[in-house]
Symmetry: C2
DNA sequence: GCAGGGATCAGGGCTAGCCCGGGGGTTCGA
DNA sequence: TCGAACCCCCGGGCTAGCCCTGATCCCTGC
């Protein structure tokens, strides 16, 4: 099977190249960033692209973004994403919208080369391979979104202000309420987000994280609702 | 001047189209997502692309990502980004790395069409136009990174745990410290991040935001340092 | 040897934030 | 008409978190 490898780490992509050759695959190119990945797929028309999500220039999502481009232009090319830990929106969106010939594994969970070889075979055969932790995170995020959607408009106003790092008093001033009312809304927010009192949790921070994470990646402000 | 417009809102892109025509420009295409933007630039070879950062499918950064693609493939095409509020890493990275023929305006700050027309003229002429708030945010983010880099390793451990929503007690347990020591570290963190007591601020949340924002967009874990 | 930085810990005080119980008003659908 | 949902507000109690002061120890560089 013809495979293109994209990973900014020279050692890793060259190592993977040799590893795949040992198990009978044909690594036709090994590149270090998203643009080069797209160029290599165009040049070599591989069966599958093995892609690290984080690549230059920002080392955040270039791999996943390039993977989206590869899927758009060459739908028959299998895509197998790799990362150190679970990454945000783009990769999960690609999994949701184009699950065929798609895989997402965590590097630390690939304990021997057979795991990788099996995943490659499955993806190239048209199937989907997702690390269990990736699935769990995906479901968890869906659940967080649903919970935030279940907040009332006022509660979302309060939570948005909390997420800006405003104190209760500042929130009250901004929304023309008393401190007491803000406390009441915050209590409802924590309950609806299922953030019950736990000695190990800082629940306000967790609520703020939920709000910020609903727009990952890069959410600094309100997410626009998709048109109906 | 030939202009391509990209905004998912039909009303806005059609309105912009007419507005630009009134002031003497030639809007050659008006599209609703990043892919269509790239296709339109390819088809029409405009002088400038006017791009809303948030477009489908995730309504987060597709505009900025597509803008990066446009800049890569057609460096002579001016790029003018628009958004409701300041967006994260991609747009600012594009401004930093390719400032010529580039602009970034906040929609709410365009108080009349002459502001837009002036920006278009400047960008098409090879210059750079940045909303002052955008500049301030960019500088603020640089400053935040520097401050976080100035924390000791231990302080960064504590801040990372805070950002996970852990309570002081849980942080102490995890790092084998007493509550008192965690409090001391948090005090140092707040001081070094210049988060002085203010009645309107929830300083712990602001410190957590600083930590999370250092890896924007999509930072769920450690940022990888770019190779030297 | 000494100063500075980092790490750890303690006693004690204060308060913003959380929460319990309670209350009132408006709107909408069954 | 009534109940549910939403919004707003109060009195009162409790505590996690913050901060002041102070202390000790270790390491490094001058």
């Amino acid at each position: 099977m013809r495979i293109v490898i994209a990973d900014d780490s020279v050692l890793l992509r060259e190592g993977l190249s040799r590893l795949l050759a040992e198990v009978g695959h044909n690594p036709v190119a090994a590149v270090g960033d998203g643009e080069a990945l797209v160029d290599a797929v165009e040049a070599h028309q591989p069966d599958l692209a093995l892609i690290d999500i984080r690549m230059p220039p920002t080392f955040t999502h270039e791999g996943a973004v390039a993977a989206t481009e590869v899927r758009r232009r060459w739908p028959a090319v299998g895509i197998l994403l790799l990362s150190q830990s679970i990454e945000g929106r783009y990769a999960l969106e690609l999994a949701r919208s184009h699950p065929q010939r798609f895989g997402y594994l965590l590097k630390d969970h690939i304990l021997d080369v057979s795991v990788l070889a099996d995943a490659i075979a499955t993806v190239a055969g048209g199937g989907t391979v997702l690390d269990p932790d990736v699935v769990a995170q995906f479901l968890g995020r869906r659940s967080t979104l649903e919970r935030i959607d279940a907040l009332t408009a006022r509660e979302q106003d309060v939570l948005a202000a909390m997420a800006e790092g405003r104190s209760n008093r500042a929130i009250a001033t901004r929304l023309s309420l008393t401190d007491k009312t803000v406390e009441t809304h915050i209590g409802s927010i924590l309950t609806k987000l299922d953030l019950l009192p736990q000695p190990d949790d800082h629940r306000r921070v967790l609520a703020v994280r939920a709000w910020l994470d609903r727009t990952a990646p890069g959410g600094n402000d309100d997410r626009r609702r998709p048109p109906p």
